[in-house]
C-alpha cells in the first residue's frame, strides 16, 4: 500500500449521486460512505437539485466531479466556470475536485463529450500549465480521470499512461483511475490494460472509478448502464493492491436501477480490498478483438442509443 501524495482521506465506497435516487436517499439515509456529484448539475441551480445537494452534503462526504473543465482544450482556462466551481466546492466542502483528461470543445464551443487528446509534448506543456492555473485558483487538489476513447492520433508521441504519468509529475495534479475506462480503451486500441496500471506511480492515484460498459464487438462503449464485468473487477483488484486505500466510486448513468442495486454493486469493491491477491491476475487476459463486422441499421441504432447518457 502507498499513501497518496496529498494525504487525501479514504472515504470508502461511494456512489455517483443521480436525480432518480434523490427521494430515496433523503427518506432512507442509506449507509453510503460518500457521494460523488456531477458539478455542472449544481453550479447555478437554485432549485430542488441545490436543495437536495445541501441536504445530502449535511449527511455525507461529497466530492465534485466535473465534465466541462476541458483541461485538454487549446482554449485558455475558463475562470468564469472556475468561479462557480470554487463556490460550489466550498459549499459542499469537496476536499478535491476531479474532472477528465480530455477536451470538450474549442473556440468556446462545448460538444459535451470527453474527447481524446493527442499525446504530444505540445499538449503536455499546455495541459500542465492549465492544471497549475486551475489548482492555484481552486486552492485544492485537481484529480484527472483517464477517459474511454474511441480514436487515437498518429501525431501522438507517447502512450496514454506515459502522458498521464508525466502530467501528474509536472503539474502535481492527481489521478482518478477509472479501471473500466482502462479496460474500454485497451479493447478499443489494443493495448495491455495491466501495463497502463503498472506505469502509473501509485502515490499519484487518488480515487478509483468503476462502471459497466457495452461491448459492440467492433469496439466497447463506456455507457455506465450495467453491472461491472468480472474482468474490470480483476483490474480493480490489481490496481488496488498497488495503491491501497483510495476512494472508490461506482458510476451508473443509464438504465439506472433502484438505489440498493447500485449501492450493492459499489460494495462489491470491498471484497477486492479484503481478499488476498489472486496469482492468476498477474496473467490478466487482454481483451480479444472481434473480427470486423458490419452493423445492421437496427444494430447501428442500438449502438447510438447506448451512447446517449447525458453529461
Amino acid at each position: 500500500m502507498t499513501a497518496n501524495k496529498w494525504n487525501l482521506s479514504d472515504f470508502g465506497f461511494g456512489v455517483g449521486l443521480r436525480s432518480v435516487h434523490y427521494n430515496y436517499i433523503l427518506e432512507n439515509n442509506p449507509s453510503v460512505d460518500w457521494f460523488e456529484v456531477i458539478s455542472e448539475t449544481y453550479l447555478e441551480s437554485g432549485g430542488r437539485v441545490r436543495y437536495v445537494l445541501d441536504k445530502i452534503a449535511e449527511r455525507y462526504p461529497i466530492v465534485l466531479h466535473g465534465v466541462s473543465l476541458s483541461i485538454g482544450s487549446s482554449d485558455p482556462v475558463n475562470f468564469e466556470y472556475l468561479k462557480l466551481l470554487k463556490a460550489l466546492a466550498d459549499r459542499v466542502k469537496s476536499p478535491y475536485i476531479s474532472d477528465h483528461l480530455c477536451w470538450t470543445g474549442v473556440n468556446a464551443h462545448n460538444v459535451h463529450d470527453l474527447l481524446p487528446i493527442p499525446y504530444t509534448e505540445e499538449s503536455l506543456k499546455h495541459i500542465v500549465n492549465k492544471a497549475k492555473q486551475v489548482m492555484e485558483f481552486m486552492e485544492r487538489p485537481l484529480v484527472l480521470e483517464n477517459v474511454s476513447t474511441y480514436a487515437q492520433f498518429a501525431s501522438s508521441s507517447m502512450s496514454e499512461w506515459e502522458f498521464h504519468a508525466r502530467l501528474m509529475e509536472e503539474s502535481q495534479c492527481g489521478m482518478l483511475m477509472d479501471v473500466n475506462n482502462i479496460y474500454v480503451s485497451a479493447y478499443n486500441h489494443d493495448f495491455d490494460s495491466k501495463e497502463f496500471i503498472d506505469r502509473i506511480d501509485p502515490s499519484l492515484v487518488c480515487q478509483y472509478h468503476l462502471a459497466g460498459h457495452t461491448n459492440k464487438g467492433t469496439h466497447i462503449l463506456d455507457t455506465h448502464n450495467d453491472h461491472v464485468i468480472d474482468a474490470v473487477w480483476e483490474l480493480y483488484r490489481y490496481a488496488y493492491q498497488r495503491t491501497g486505500g483510495r476512494n472508490t466510486l461506482l458510476e451508473w448513468d443509464e438504465d439506472i436501477p433502484e438505489f440498493d442495486v447500485v449501492h450493492e454493486e459499489a460494495l462489491k469493491a470491498k471484497k477486492y480490498r479484503n481478499e488476498k491477491p489472486d496469482p492468476t491476475m498477474m496473467n490478466l487476459p487482454r481483451p480479444t478483438i472481434a473480427p470486423k463486422m458490419r452493423l445492421t441499421p437496427v444494430e447501428k441504432n442500438e449502438l447510438v442509443n447506448s451512447m446517449s447518457h447525458k453529461l
Binding site: L43, G46, V106, E121, F153, A154
Partner: protein
C-alpha cells in the same frame, strides 16, 4: 515520432467534423473541416483500429454528439417535439439549431435558451404556435433552476396596518415569470405531459404565471384582469398604484374587481408568489 500538427488544429478539425450534420463523408469533406486539415492529412492522423476505419472511429463521436443534442432539447421542449414529430424535431435540432446556436455553456441545460428565437427566425409549419409553446417551455425550464426565495405568509400580510397598504410594494419570488400568448399553449403542453390526446391548436389569448412552490414548478392561467394587476405588482408598483391602474384599464368592471381583489390576493399569497412586503 511527433509530427507537427498543432493541438489547436487537430481540435478545430475534429470539432468541425463532429458538429457537421449529414454523413461521416460529408463531415470529413466539409469546407470547414478541409480548411482546418485536408482530408488526406486528417485521415492519416486518426489511427484505424483492428475493426474500425478512422472515419468510423470519429463517427462514434459524431453520433453521440447529435444524440446528446436532440435528447437534451427533447427534455426541455416535449411540446414542440410533439407538434413537429420526432423525425422533424431531431432534424431541425441536429441540422439547423445546433449549427446556428452551438453550446457555449458548461451545461446542456442551457442549450435550448435560443430555441424560441430560432423558431421565430425559421420557416416552420404552425410557427406562431410553436413560438408561443417554446417560450412557455423555456420559462418552465428556467424556473426549475431559479434561485429559491423565502415567501410571505398570511400572518405577515395580516400584520400590515391598513394605512400602510397604500405604499406597500410586493416583491415577487425569483422563480416567477409572467407570459402572454396568442394560443392555447398551456392546454396543449398539459396534454403532452399527461400523455393524453392533445387539443386542436387554436388562437386564444392566454395569460400565464409560471412559478415555483416547494421546489415544484407550476404554470397557471390567469384572467386578463388578474394578469394586469399581478404584472403591475410584480413590476414593483405600489399596491395602490397597481389597483388604480387596474381600475383605469378595466373601468366597466370596477364593482366586480372590488369583490375579487381580496380573493385573488389571498390566492397569490398562498401560492407563494411573493417573497416580501416592502413598506415605506
Amino acid at each position: 515520432m511527433e509530427n507537427n500538427i498543432p493541438l489547436t488544429t487537430i481540435q478545430r478539425w475534429m470539432q468541425s467534423v463532429i458538429e457537421h450534420p449529414g454523413t461521416n463523408d460529408e463531415a470529413w469533406n466539409s469546407e470547414q473541416a478541409q480548411k482546418e486539415l485536408p482530408f488526406d492529412e486528417a485521415y492519416a492522423n486518426v489511427l484505424p483500429s483492428k475493426t474500425l476505419t478512422p472515419v468510423e472511429r470519429i463517427g462514434i463521436y459524431r453520433k453521440m454528439f447529435f444524440l446528446r443534442m436532440t435528447e437534451s432539447m427533447a427534455i426541455d421542449y416535449p411540446g414542440v417535439k410533439n407538434v413537429l414529430g420526432e423525425f422533424e424535431f431531431d432534424r431541425i435540432v441536429a441540422e439547423e439549431y445546433v449549427k446556428k446556436f452551438p453550446s457555449h455553456s458548461y451545461t446542456l441545460n442551457h442549450l435550448g435558451r435560443y430555441f424560441p428565437q430560432f423558431i421565430q427566425e425559421t420557416d416552420l409549419r404552425n410557427k406562431a404556435f410553436l413560438y408561443d409553446l417554446s417560450r412557455l417551455e423555456l420559462s418552465i425550464t428556467n424556473n426549475m433552476d431559479a434561485e429559491e426565495s423565502p415567501i410571505v405568509h398570511q400572518q405577515e400580510i395580516a400584520s400590515v396596518q391598513p394605512d400602510q397598504w397604500e405604499h406597500a410594494i410586493l416583491i415577487p419570488i425569483a422563480a416567477l415569470e409572467m407570459l402572454e400568448f396568442d394560443h392555447n399553449v398551456c392546454e396543449y403542453l398539459d396534454a403532452v405531459i399527461e400523455e393524453v390526446t392533445v387539443p386542436e391548436i387554436k388562437n386564444e389569448r392566454t395569460f400565464v404565471v409560471v412559478y415555483r412552490k416547494t421546489y415544484r414548478t407550476y404554470w397557471d392561467i390567469l384572467s386578463s384582469q388578474q394578469y394586469f394587476l399581478l404584472s403591475a405588482l410584480v413590476s414593483r408598483k405600489t399596491f395602490s398604484e397597481s389597483i388604480a391602474l387596474l381600475v383605469e384599464q378595466f373601468p366597466d368592471s370596477q364593482e366586480e374587481l372590488q369583490q375579487k381583489l381580496f380573493e385573488w390576493f389571498n390566492e397569490w399569497v398562498s401560492s407563494g408568489y411573493f417573497s416580501k412586503i416592502k413598506l415605506r
